[in-house]
Amino acid sequence: MSRPGKIARLLIQSFFKKPATGNYPADRSGMPEGFRGKLKFNPQMCIGCKMCMRDCPSGAIEIIKLGEKQFEAHVNLAKCIYCGQCVDSCLKHALEVTAEFELARLDPAQLKVILNAANKATLKE
């Protein structure tokens, strides 16, 4: 037995409830734990095997040798697909993912970041 306007009760209930829209950017509660965002690099553990570079599907990460047993990672945030395969491939667990996802920038040059001993992302000169 069909009647038109069956959804009426739900509409009137919704009218008096708070809207279901999340209040971003005022409320930056972020993504759930374990969300794959920007990479973090621990230079002390890196041995320069470059397995992460072999397995990266898009060629976004590059390991540069600075000196004896000293490495830094150059990541192109635009090419990275945030799959986390480099984290799994690394034999020494030198890479990990953080949940940082607000990575958009107006200048494409700012998307090439260097992760090094200071462990702060600095701009590539």
């Binding site: 374990g34 969300f35 395969q85």
Partner: protein, 413 residues
Amino acid sequence: MHNSEHYSEDVKIPMGPQHPSLKEPESFLISLRGEKITASSVRLGYNHRGIEKACEDRTYTQGLYLIERICGICSHSHSTCFSQAVEEIAGVEIPARAKYLRTLIGELERIHSHLLWLGVAGHEIGFDTLLMYTWRDREVVMDLLAALTGNRVNYGINTIGGVRRDISSKQKEEVLKGVAILETQTKYYIDLAKNETTLLKRLQGVGVLSHEDAVRLDAVGPTARACGVKRDVRKDDPYAAYAELDFKVISVNSCDVYGRTLVRLGELMESYSLIRQIISKIPEGAIAVKLPRKIPAGQAVSRYEAPRGEDLHYVRANGTEKPDRVKVRAPTLANIQSVSKMLEDRYLADMPIVIAAIDPCFSCTDRLIAIRDSRNKEKNTVTWETIRLKGIEWYKGQGIDFKSLNKKLTESF
């Protein structure tokens, strides 16, 4: 009404490639007489990205992420199907816990896809309210998937040999809570679909495909199950953990868009029960086995029941770490041939909902199709190098020179 002989020739209206009702580009050419459709034809190929060729240049692990991005909504289906094919070639059996986890994510993806479809169907018939409510409920599933796998779409949970992440007991509870909320909402939508007059008027009797036509035109998935064709890969050819789980194949006999709606709503309820079984039955153990980088020579075909129907992957390995040939046959390719049949003698207003009812995913569909002309006996294959040179020549004729373009691109990136 009017005598149809008095009309002059039919109006040909293009629907697509860009059209507000199509979520992805595809070209339908419709001949209209007044408001009635007299003929329609489909043209594919706008979404071809060369994925099958690109897989031959990448290792199996890299190719897995590429295959996953064939489609956003059925990404786990493609990724699991590919992994299953490679694991079959390598002759490796993945651990039981990995099978259950793959099934769990697969069923969550099915829920996400069917709720998305409900919203899209509502939008195509002008019922935006249904769109807003179903997509609000879909956020529950998206948040669950983000917590379990690390991303809302393109989950990346598979690896060749198992899965990459484990599930904790806290996450299991969250899944059960989310499923309980969704079950209440789905029961409301089923009630709505059965009782709302304007919805019934727009969906019943529209897009009729008889049982014989469904079998002849090789329809798969909910499109076929609404016509009484009880085909479901999960029952016919069980993969992952489906052999040990208990569920029904939902099928109705009404052969129209309303039947497809009911089938999808029924599958949602079955998914909730399947998820509960998985959470209670999941065995302990490892989540992956390590596979060597080089897969021995061999070939395999693997099938998977994607939310849209049967997904087929063929992989041929040649002993190196890159595959020799990968072929993907998505469910929409099988379903799209029935669209012309469904549109015979219908109104223009039924066009969007009939196309939406097969749940089209044109990104999945556009792969390489080889057409052999049986009259022309000699083999007419074109090599990669010939195509490349022809392309460069054509663009030169249009005034575009690739040498300078390439230089600019490599400098800026």
